[in-house]
Homo-oligomer: 699 residues x 2
């Protein structure tokens, strides 16, 4: 995707119901790539919000999410009121054929009422375009007719299970509604054949609850060891290898079919609107054995299987005739079963348990259960856990052996208080001061809002600490390790700085090592250059349960060299020594109730030439160590950065008071953007990548 798309103005907004689910989530990716805005509604009854959080990272796009059941008219109407919805793609619905035969009432109630409420609100809010997620199941056994394989849209319908009956009933509803007022409606009914695969990124895929009903997810679970073996239901069909033939379609192809349908509706300008069905299938049938072999090849595993008897209701061949979609929607499948297997395997191996990870919890940080205001805890229930907010990608809490060692607020209100002291937050675009808020880049003068004496501090009014980061993608790549990745898209009207910036904040929590690594990456997606100096502003109190202050904390740092500043706290150009214990001192500096007071920018190595940092190569330097004799907790701060601000929290406010926490903020030089000798290290040019790492390690 391109930067242009991320800043599309006047983009049409598509309401995607069931957008957290398998096909819905893949369609959201394609919608955003095609310049649409998406609003996702999902009751999460069979899906996870994590898929939406991952979509945000995947698309670099904010995706408003509402946990609403479509049967809840009031809840759904709020969504119609809040967003100017241009069209609807309706995925939401219960979809397991087998389950539908067990609890048919729930299927009818949920699927039909949900659709009716949705259509009623569309009518009320004058939204006319609707793409409906139907299914080839509506045809039932098309082999009952002599000439209906491959199946054309004209094939008489005859679903054979409650799930199919709900899809059939909804198709009838759409036809009847269209006929009641043809000028007002454009309905596209998409009849899916067998969607398989996953997004090639490996970030989203099918995450079925319980025993998978479908071949591919079942094979994937056998392959990752969650199931013993594959059952093949009958090898005595009249096919090339005796197994039944189905029309498998890569979910990304399927998702693109929705874009084609939506664009068709967008472009359709007849007076009468339309209500029309399109098959979405490849037109090519594959046998079960063929798919089995493709998956074994993709995974490199010879899956154990057993052929058992035919399954009731199964028939030889259900392949789509996709000609109408090709002709009218200009859409056809591009990917093969082999692609599907490869992408599924990537998804399955990178997410063996889907979205739901043990050791990860989330809670809402606002009363209105806003999903953008979540606090996600990684390492939950372990000896070391971190809680991170979308707001500011802020470290809300760190717990060492169950004991909180940082300052933080219970909910977003605390962080949004204008007097709050950037507690735990990501600081950007420019940590620390820029003199008078002025700088020159590429021969052009820039003026930031002055927000700190006569200077601009911590990015001024565009400070990252009150910006909402996208995501996170939370993963558990190996035992004891959790990652959470956030992205901030800091563009145009959101900033006084030049250039469109994307910042990734990747938290890596290692429970065994009790370390939290923060990796920042920045790059410009538009513009020539920007100042950039990122840090994290966590305040530590290593004795928090016992004392409300840092009193008694012992610290040592790597160097006592520090940037000299004038009365406006702007560097004079000199480097001076501060009175602080370094690692080679036998005794640490002990922070007392009032003294010593630090708010200095220390320099790791005054001889090193400051420059942009490649975090993949750069070594981490231990810059500070703190210890409290009561709690016996030691904190080590390591980083890739040339400086580190030490601040004893003497001006804490907004619920906190002086010296309740201290901060060690690795970063780049104060006002470096205005200093020739330091300017390079805080200037991010187009094509470059800004990188830095900070590690908080406890013992």
């Amino acid at each position: 995707m391109t930067a242009q798309l991320q800043t599309t103005n006047n983009a049409k907004t598509v309401l995607v119901t069931g957008g957290a689910g398998y096909i819905g989530s893949h369609t959201v990716v394609e919608l955003i790539e095609n310049g649409y805005e998406c609003v996702v509604v999902d009751n999460l009854s069979n899906s996870s919000y994590d898929s939406v959080a991952r979509l945000e990272i995947l698309t670099k796009h904010h995706i408003p999410f509402h946990k609403v059941d479509l049967c809840d008219r009031e809840g759904l109407e709020k969504v119609f009121k809040e967003h100017e919805i241009d069209s609807v793609i309706h995925f939401a619905g219960l979809k397991a054929v087998g389950e539908s035969t067990q609890i048919p009432l729930r299927y009818y109630h949920n699927n039909i009422l949900g659709t009716l409420v949705l259509l009623e609100l569309m009518q009320q809010y004058k939204v006319s375009k609707f793409v409906f997620s139907s299914s080839a199941t509506v045809y039932g056994d098309a082999t009952r007719f002599p000439d209906m394989i491959p199946i054309p849209e004209e094939c008489p319908l005859g679903p054979t299970n409650p799930y199919g009956n709900t899809k059939y009933a909804i198709e009838k509803i759409l036809n009847d509604l269209y006929n009641s007022d043809k000028a007002s409606w454009k309905f596209s009914i998409l009849r899916y054949f067998n969607p398989i695969g996953a997004h090639p990124s490996g970030l989203i895929g099918e995450d079925p609850l319980g025993i998978p009903n479908n071949l591919l997810p079942y094979m994937a679970q056998v392959a990752v060891g969650r199931r013993e073996k594959l059952y093949i239901f009958g090898d005595d069909y009249d096919s090339r290898d005796g197994t039944p033939i189905r029309d498998y379609i890569h979910v990304v192809d399927l998702a693109k079919g929705h874009i084609a349908a939506l664009k068709y509706l967008d472009a359709y300008n007849q007076e009468e609107g339309l209500c029309r069905e399109w098959n979405l299938g490849s037109g090519k049938g594959s046998t079960v054995f063929e798919v089995y072999r493709a998956f074994c090849k993709a995974s490199g595993i010879d899956l154990p299987y057993e052929v058992t008897g035919r399954r009731a209701g199964d028939v030889l061949n259900l392949t789509a005739k996709p000609d109408r979609a090709k002709r009218e929607l200009k859409w056809q499948t591009e990917l093969q079963v082999e692609d599907s297997c490869k992408d599924l395997w990537k998804w399955a191996t990178e997410n063996p348990f889907g979205y739901q990870l043990k050791g990860v919890e989330a809670r809402f940080a606002t009363e209105d259960m806003n999903y953008d205001a979540r606090f996600v805890t990684i390492g939950a229930g372990t000896r070391f856990q971190a809680t991170i907010a979308n707001l500011g990608a802020t470290i809300v809490d760190l717990k060492v052996d169950g004991q909180s060692v940082v300052l933080g607020y219970e909910n977003e209100e605390g962080y949004l208080n204008p007097d709050s002291a950037y507690i735990g937050a990501t600081i950007g675009r420019y940590a620390n001061r820029i003199a008078k808020g002025k700088f020159n880049l590429g021969g052009k003068d820039y003026q930031l809002t002055v927000n700190n004496g006569i200077n601009a501090n911590h990015g001024s009014i565009g400070s990252f600490h009150v910006k909402r980061f996208l995501g996170p993608i939370v993963q558990n790549p190996s035992k004891d390790v959790f990652t959470a990745e956030y992205i901030l898209v800091d563009n145009g009207k959101d900033t006084e700085f030049p250039g469109d910036l994307q910042v990734t904040v990747q938290y890596t929590l290692n429970v065994a090592k009790k370390s939290l690594e923060i990796e920042y990456k920045g790059k410009l997606t538009a513009g020539e250059a920007t100042p950039l100096n990122l840090t994290n502003h966590t305040y530590f109190n290593l004795n928090k349960p016992h004392e409300d202050t840092i009193d008694g904390t012992e610290i040592k740092v790597v160097s006592k060299k520090s940037v000299d500043v004038d009365k406006n706290v702007i560097p004079t150009g000199k480097i001076v020594d501060r009175n602080i214990a370094t690692f080679d001192c036998s005794k640490p500096t002990i922070l007392g109730p009032k003294d010593p007071r630090y708010d200095y920018c220390f320099v790791v190595d005054e001889n090193a030439k400051p420059k942009q940092i490649d975090t993949s190569n750069n070594e981490l330097t231990l810059v500070a160590k703190a210890f409290h004799p009561d709690s016996k907790i030691t904190l080590e701060v390591l980083s890739t950065e040339p400086t580190y601000q030490v601040y004893t929290g003497d001006f804490l406010s907004a619920g906190y008071t002086a010296r309740q926490g201290f901060a060690v903020e690795p970063g780049r030089y104060v006002d470096a953007i205005n200093r020739k000798e330091w300017k390079d290290c805080v200037t991010l040019k187009h094509g470059e990548t800004y990188g830095s790492k900070i590690v908080y390690r406890f013992s």
Copy 2:
């Protein structure tokens, strides 16, 4: 119907949804005649509670009614909690084909969700038997097949309008639900052909809102002058007279089909339950012209008609093959189109505007909107109006030229107060005192509970004033005249008196004459004989808006002869004169603030032999006249009765105080049941009819 059925114990309770509607109400009659109890649920969106009130009179049976929309799960669940429901007959649903093409969403939402909620509650409350009101509409145009006229149940379905689609979807739901748990369900799907006609009583019938969609109601409206002429859509079909052929079925036959189906389910004892469809039709087709001629004959009117073009969707012939119902349900139609036309004509002429009458209003007398606790006003908005409660068939209010002239309570709470003074109520079984509560009938001694000194008064603990009367049937038989008929079934455990009694109270309000006639009729449905002495206990205050007392009221009566009583207020056998002005006096008795005090039983004619009264022959006698000089309102009390109690309200309580109203209560002799000379007139024997009339006339 027989008396036995009315007292059926352990009768199975059938929940009838849509029971206030056309087919539902006729089915309730048949259900009760077949010994079932009914609970009616209806949202009254296209029907009137009056049909249920009429059903109560028609069946002499209480019919619990709940105004609940089936989509309101909470409301419907209350019904399941309150009643032990054995089976459900489900009529509720929107049913106009034409309308369904205009507002299909409403049809789907209402019909399908309503059914789902109902089935969910049946599942929850383990109710397994369900008779569904489907329609031949599900077949669509059966003439599209070569051999499907008459239409058998095996005919493939294919509804052609949203209404039919909702019926089809519900049939699918029933099939799927049955297949999900065969042991738990017995479903009968009844596919109606063309129901016509009305109950032969003329009390219930089809009452369509707006322009009728169907031939018969349309003809009826033409016949009574509400529509100009009949339109016949096409006379160029290939039928005997060129008009299309349909299978018309008398609604009473159709209703009986439901009983047959329900009994079939009741008797069905296979392990697996069932879900089965039955056509309900006659198997005989009639053309439009044939029906037209039958109706013209029945009504004696040559209806004007015009043949116009064919109507879209109409086909030549849709006649049922009813063999399956005949074979399995042992049901077939018994009535002919001619019967339907005759009964429809009776209904139409006796109720030219259906149930809804101008000048009739109703309100709830309890906070829970209990339909049994309604206050019905007849003559509403006219110069003379009466409000009557089901409780006690009580006169709650009488207004003369907008001015209330009687005492009464705002709601039922007042009337149920044990200290209330029978205000406005029907008094029975025995108005006035029975000495010591004892009497002997047929050689047997009876003891009533003593509730008044050492006597039983006003029927004692079984007093009619706190019994709920069935009905009413409200009618407007001619200009300015409104009638309201109530029935009390006073049986077995409800009474200490011998015999099962039915009492009818018929109010006839004549606005022009400003008279309210009350006619009582009593008869025994079981037992040999009972004491019976009925009256109405209205308290008048002719100057109510100005004064809270009867002070200044001038009265005259027909006779000063009065029953002498002992210290226990029981007749001594003597007749004495009281000090009261009679009609031949020049001056009236003036009721003062404290005097004179009356609570005497006056005798109209001491020489007349008291006996049972035939109200159709008996002359009314003017027994009392009252006038207030401030209001200038005159009251005349007339009756068929041998005595009249005059009571100056000196013991009024429960919200009222002494002398706020006076009563003139025509009736029979005090303690007559224990006096040989009077006993006949208060002894109702089996086969006899007790009759009496009271008229309150104002000027």
